[in-house]
Symmetry: C4
Subunit: 193 residues, 4 copies
Amino acid sequence: MKKGRLEAFTDAVIAIIMTILVLELPLPHGNTFHALLHEREKIIIYLVSFLTLVIYWNNHHHMFYIIHKVNGHVLWMNNLFLFFLSLFPFSTNWTGENLFSRDPQIFYGCIILGADVTYFFLVKLLIKENGHNSHVAELFGDSQKMKVTLCLNIIALFAGFILPILTMIVNIIMILLWVIPDRRVERVFKNRF
Amino acid sequence: MKKGRLEAFTDAVIAIIMTILVLELPLPHGNTFHALLHEREKIIIYLVSFLTLVIYWNNHHHMFYIIHKVNGHVLWMNNLFLFFLSLFPFSTNWTGENLFSRDPQIFYGCIILGADVTYFFLVKLLIKENGHNSHVAELFGDSQKMKVTLCLNIIALFAGFILPILTMIVNIIMILLWVIPDRRVERVFKNRF
Amino acid sequence: MKKGRLEAFTDAVIAIIMTILVLELPLPHGNTFHALLHEREKIIIYLVSFLTLVIYWNNHHHMFYIIHKVNGHVLWMNNLFLFFLSLFPFSTNWTGENLFSRDPQIFYGCIILGADVTYFFLVKLLIKENGHNSHVAELFGDSQKMKVTLCLNIIALFAGFILPILTMIVNIIMILLWVIPDRRVERVFKNRF
Amino acid sequence: MKKGRLEAFTDAVIAIIMTILVLELPLPHGNTFHALLHEREKIIIYLVSFLTLVIYWNNHHHMFYIIHKVNGHVLWMNNLFLFFLSLFPFSTNWTGENLFSRDPQIFYGCIILGADVTYFFLVKLLIKENGHNSHVAELFGDSQKMKVTLCLNIIALFAGFILPILTMIVNIIMILLWVIPDRRVERVFKNRF
């Protein structure tokens, strides 16, 4: 099956999630920057969630750019991936209210772990469908980076039991790992085509 | 007429419905998993609604993948189908507040019945437009499964009068019937092309 | 310029407006159909707004299906059209709260008038850009129906001063005029291609 | 890389932001135009934000219409641009509540400045990727107008310290500069193709 409609649907879902995040930002109680700063915890977590979603989209964009075929399993894994992303507004809101509490941080970490695990299997399914010799295997098959990510996800969860804010910090470090996924794809593309 | 814009519009509507469902999830009153569990009824019904919408999208995706032509009647039936889906956030919210009450469960069951009936007629219209010999007739024309679904929808409604939660349970069983619509389409595609 | 991105953007905007309408439906205060019926005015107006938006989309879909070129003026007129549509959730909400009050009904009527006027000019601009001999001129150039619509829009406004609910009733009659715009386009398409 | 998915994603994000703006408009407390006028400050700022977003979309549409290639840097700069746009509902809401206060106006001005700066760099990156001889360089490379815009952005911020409403007024003037970006592109297209 062609990938077009899966890409369009994923784009729509991620675009909406990213955008409705802002609906959870409360109106500051006052007309000063001081009142705005009062909401700083919510704003910080908003930035983190927005950035995380952008990075997921960027990576999704790059991966689907070089594959050609999808199948029913890919659709389901992608839907599961979107399910975890769909919980971002909820968990951003809860964590934003309780930035230094353990349970919301653990919950947030679990959502990211869920998204990463499903993304990991999505890559595996795409490699399987598109052949081990395809670009997707070459570029994304080396799952070293994804395994490191999953380890960091789990470390983030355990760290939360020591000091809740650590979950957030480890997650941010992990996110930064993925800011530049593009170069490799682009280099390959430049060299070959 | 070509199907492109109908697909894009349907994707957008379903993506938005799935995503705004989360806006109805209330912020837990507290920073513990205990507070989160307090909202468990709403979370369960959120999961059910999200899964149902994903399955509708998957089936819609597969069906439109193999047809080529749409007409005005198809557009209208699709719009009616989208109308029933658009009520999901509302009925999810109401049922989530009253998981064990009869009326919200019956209402939820009616929304699903409405969506299934319109989907049933959508398939019929697509078969008519695309010819009885086309793949759509071969794959989806055998409406055995859809008729079973509609029967289950109606059973779910009556069951609700005995014990409200039964509506939900029968609906979940019915949804599970549709988790794997993909295989048949994909097998046909693999064998022929 | 090609029409693709204008279509996609319009689809997204209309899809979102249609879907967020439901967010304005209040959670019934109770777990009975009686409580649901208490919100009947809001539900009726929801149905009217949803149907109106679907009809706008259907007509937009059909019109853009047969044209090929857009220009800057078309983009702007389309944006103005979308602006009036974007006010639907707001005016639906206000009118739903005050179904028998004059001012909300007049306001709702003005929004529809604004959408119809901009749609009227959108058709004119498309005819101009695509040539008077094109299908768009042949099919939509006969603006008899659109002029009747605009007259009904204005009658609806004046009727509101006599009895507010008349605005709604005249608008519903007007909407029904547009339920079947499809036939003509499809017949032409069938005959020629 | 091709531009298709970046365009689709941007369309979705801007469409959603424009549309959820309306969710921040409060239901008037009453059923009269007088009650509606009570919300006039929120309605005015809604109009300004909607118009600003439409103009960004129009310019984005025109610019991407004539370029062919994107790369990882373009994706990131576009995402940063979308981030600033995503704050529009929040800052529209805050400024609408406090139209004559300094801090919300400055904040609103900063969001627009952020969007303009990222748009400026987006143009630069697109020129770099698509070659200095391409249409994009010819049409948008002359950054005179963008530099004037950025100056006006900064003037708007300083003006806000004298009289808060000036920020809004200077921003509106600046927006009007961009209402007609289309002509030049269209003229070039008409002459050459």
